[in-house]
């Protein structure tokens, strides 16, 4: 897709590529290739390395310690990180909380929290979803009760990714029940080590622990834990989720995985001789995925070019979320078919020389059922597209 980039951008890509290859420790790249849920320590290490270079908050404005890069430059940077098998940055701190705080937070909040997000010294988790309020935040039940000098938060958060090692939670709670459901919500910063916070692991179908249920039992937060204005949490949450949706297209990860999938198919023996990659049916599916992936990449570049001209992403975010999440699933579907019997057992004893390329695919495939569900299910995204774009 070279022709969609300027010469300057191509030069930028070469520069970024060389830098990342130089900065990225080999063991982190290897772990990223093998796994899906990285440890806090691994993520923090890469975060720190990037921060030293000034690239940790690569999509933040320069005024807040970001790079000030254009949306296309960020795209290039993320693509090069994925290509190099760099660990993903913690979604919550860098991608979601940071922008929320520098957009709506107080000066004190920015000064206190932005630097540690950038450096990876503190990790965040998201406290929006509840068991009865996944896609439907308006039915949120967690409450924040005003007390002298602060608030007392009571409730239960579900599907809290990385909650078991996060330092801080950005927590949505009901502060006003006299108004219509979405109007009475506020956003708070909550210390995960505060009394009353307890974190219970949820094992997902890939057998791993990355999400949690977080019980908030009379957790006290100070007055300055409130982000922005009281009862405006719904607005902030929507802002944050808009960012999440573009991010959830995961196009760079898909491109990288697609490359690895082709390599896997090219190394996997086919029944009756040859390799799987040469079976006509597999070839056709690979070619079809290549086309869909190109469509997704070009769509994201169109949206980013619009952003460069100052247009904020609207329902386009829903489009790329729908397309991107389905594509992620199609890629691992194909990987399962390429692996056949080798893809349905998890334990490896290491004796198989091919295990390297196979490692992690099955777990990813299982966990990946979630990508069409989280950050607003694809059905909700389609309703958004129908209503806001098509006027239905």
């Amino acid at each position: 897709m070279d022709s969609l980039f300027t010469d300057d951008e191509k030069a930028f890509r070469r520069h970024v590529r060389a830098s990342i290859r130089a900065m990225l420790p080999a063991d982190l790249a290897e772990k990223t290739r093998a796994g899906i849920h990285l440890s806090r320590e691994d993520m923090a290490r890469w975060n720190r390395i990037l921060d030293e270079r000034g690239w940790a908050a690569h999509h933040w404005p320069a005024a807040h310690g970001g790079t000030g890069w254009t949306p296309i430059q960020r795209f290039i940077f993320e693509s090069e990180c994925a290509d190099a098998d760099a660990p993903p940055l913690s979604v919550f701190g860098v991608y979601l909380v940071g922008p929320t705080l520098y957009t709506f937070g107080s000066e004190a909040q920015k000064a206190r929290y932005l630097p540690t997000i950038r450096s990876g010294a503190e990790f965040w988790c998201q406290g929006y979803s509840e068991a009865d309020a996944g896609s439907d935040l308006a039915s949120l039940r967690t409450t924040a009760r005003k007390v002298d000098g602060g608030w007392v938060i009571q409730g239960q958060k579900a599907w809290t990714t990385e909650g078991h090692f996060a330092d801080l939670m950005i927590c949505l709670a009901r502060t006003n029940s006299a108004v219509k459901p979405q109007a009475g919500l506020s956003l708070f910063i909550l210390d995960m080590k505060a009394p009353g916070v307890s974190v219970h692991p949820v094992i997902t179908i890939d057998g791993a622990h990355s999400v949690n249920t977080v019980f908030l039992d009379e957790v006290r937060v100070p007055d300055d834990a409130l982000v922005g204005e009281l009862d405006k949490g719904w607005t902030y949450a929507k802002f944050l989720l808009g960012h999440e949706r573009i991010n959830n297209a995961q196009v760079h990860r898909s491109r990288r995985e697609f490359t690895r999938l082709k390599a896997l198919a090219a190394r996997t023996p086919a029944p009756g001789g040859g390799v799987i990659a040469d079976l006509p049916g597999i070839r056709q599916r690979v070619a079809g995925l290549e086309v869909e992936l190109s469509a997704l990449e070009a769509t994201i570049l169109r949206i980013l070019a619009d952003q460069t001209q100052g247009r904020e992403p609207g329902p386009e975010a829903s489009i790329v979320k729908v397309i991107g999440s389905r594509l992620q699933q199609s890629i691992s579907d194909l990987a399962m078919d390429v692996m056949g019997e080798d893809g349905i057992h998890i334990t490896e004893d290491g004796s198989d020389p091919d295990a390297g390329e196979r490692r992690g695919w099955t777990e990813r495939h299982l966990f990946r059922r979630v990508v069409t569900i989280y950050a607003g299910t694809n059905e909700i995204q389609k309703t958004i597209i129908a209503r806001t774009v098509l006027g239905l």
Binding site: A270, P280, Q329, T362, T377
Partner: protein, 354 residues
């Protein structure tokens, strides 16, 4: 051949009693909890007492002479509760192969199997590694995933040149023990010049090739039956959840998008059930039709069946993602079934080349 009204009534009785038994004694649990709680040997004896392992044995060999369709009904019920016990080979495959063989190697073990003392596991060759081959009385090669091989007393080994029935305890094989994503145990076995005594030979030459083809299609039928049972239970559980769970002020069940996704899944499940019905009848008939029916069922499972169960996870949201709830396990059971005995791509490739 289509079933008579009388036969169908008997089928229903059998299915209902199996369902009652399994739901009471072996309701679905998380695989880890099930393994911790269960006693595989006791389960096996229980199932033997129900007559499961005598039903497919021909009457002339002392069994009940049930046809393939009836065995598949039982395997569907096992799939509904996602039973760990690897019953398919003992219940369906061994008795039918014994009936097709002149040798007593397998037939002589059927009484023991009916009593629950003999447990078979099917051992087939890997499409990708060194083929399983019997030559000059010795077995070489690497197996595909053999579900239940570790628990089995006897291995029913489908190799080029011979079909044999080996005493597992007495057979020196390099075993790689694996845990499938659906929680069941499977092994990869490597044989290096293992002697195959004459009395273990079920068939050789053309007869072995004929029985090998039958074993492959039987294995597909049993696998699809299990998966269909799991899918049906998954759809049932999903609809219960959708009726209970509310979002945006109304039950999830009331959203048209959710209704239509589940209607699609239901249509796919019905298509799979229909192909299995065909395959069940075809198992008693012409091998060419049997092959086509087996391929069709396996392809449909790998495409439409997986699509159907994926939608169950989609509409149940987080519930489907959590290891402690059954929907995700249904997904894994179907994903496993889709990979065993040839993927959809594999069978489509052969059908397309055919």
């Amino acid at each position: 051949m289509r079933r008579s009204d009388e036969t169908l009534a008997e089928d229903r009785l059998l299915r209902d009693s199996a369902r009652r038994f399994l739901e009471e004694r072996h309701p679905w649990k998380e695989p880890a909890a099930r393994r911790a709680a269960g006693d595989p040997a006791a389960t096996w004896r229980e199932l033997a007492e129900l007559g499961w392992f005598a039903m497919a044995v021909p009457e002339e060999l002392g069994g009940l002479g049930a046809d393939a369709h009836r065995c598949l009904l039982i395997l569907q019920e096992a799939g509904r509760v996602m039973l760990d016990a690897p019953v398919m080979t003992t219940l369906l495959i061994a008795p039918r192969l014994a009936a097709g063989s002149d040798s007593p190697a397998l037939a002589s073990l059927l009484d023991g199997a009916a009593a629950g003392d003999v447990r078979f596991a099917l051992v087939t060759g890997s499409d990708r590694g060194a083929p399983l081959r019997v030559a000059a009385g010795r077995l070489d090669g690497t197996s595909a995933l053999a579900v239940g091989a570790a628990e089995a007393t006897h291995w029913l080994v489908v190799a080029d040149g011979a079909l044999s029935c080996l005493d597992a305890a007495a057979t020196p094989a390099l075993r790689q023990e694996l845990r499938l994503i659906d929680g069941r145990a499977a092994s990869v076995l490597r044989f290096d010049g293992v002697p195959v005594p004459d009395e273990a030979l079920v068939a050789t030459g053309d007869a072995a090739a004929r029985l090998a083809a039958e074993a492959a299609d039987l294995a597909i039928a049993g696998t699809v039956a299990d998966a269909l049972g799991a899918l049906a239970a998954g759809i049932d559980r999903t609809t219960v959840y959708l009726r209970e769970r509310r979002q945006f002020g109304q039950p999830l069940a009331s959203f048209q998008a959710v209704q239509h996704l589940m209607a699609d899944s239901y249509c796919e499940m019905e298509g799979l059930a229909s192909l299995l019905l065909w395959l069940g009848a075809a198992l008693d008939g012409d091998p060419v039709e049997r092959r086509r029916a087996a391929a069709a069922a396996k392809i449909f499972l790998g495409r439409q069946g997986l699509a159907a169960v994926s939608r169950c996870i989609q509409v149940t949201g987080g519930m489907g993602m959590a290891e402690e709830y059954p929907i995700g396990h249904v997904f894994k059971r179907l994903q496993t079934a889709a990979a065993l005995f040839g993927t959809a791509d594999h069978h489509l490739h052969h059908l397309a080349a055919g």
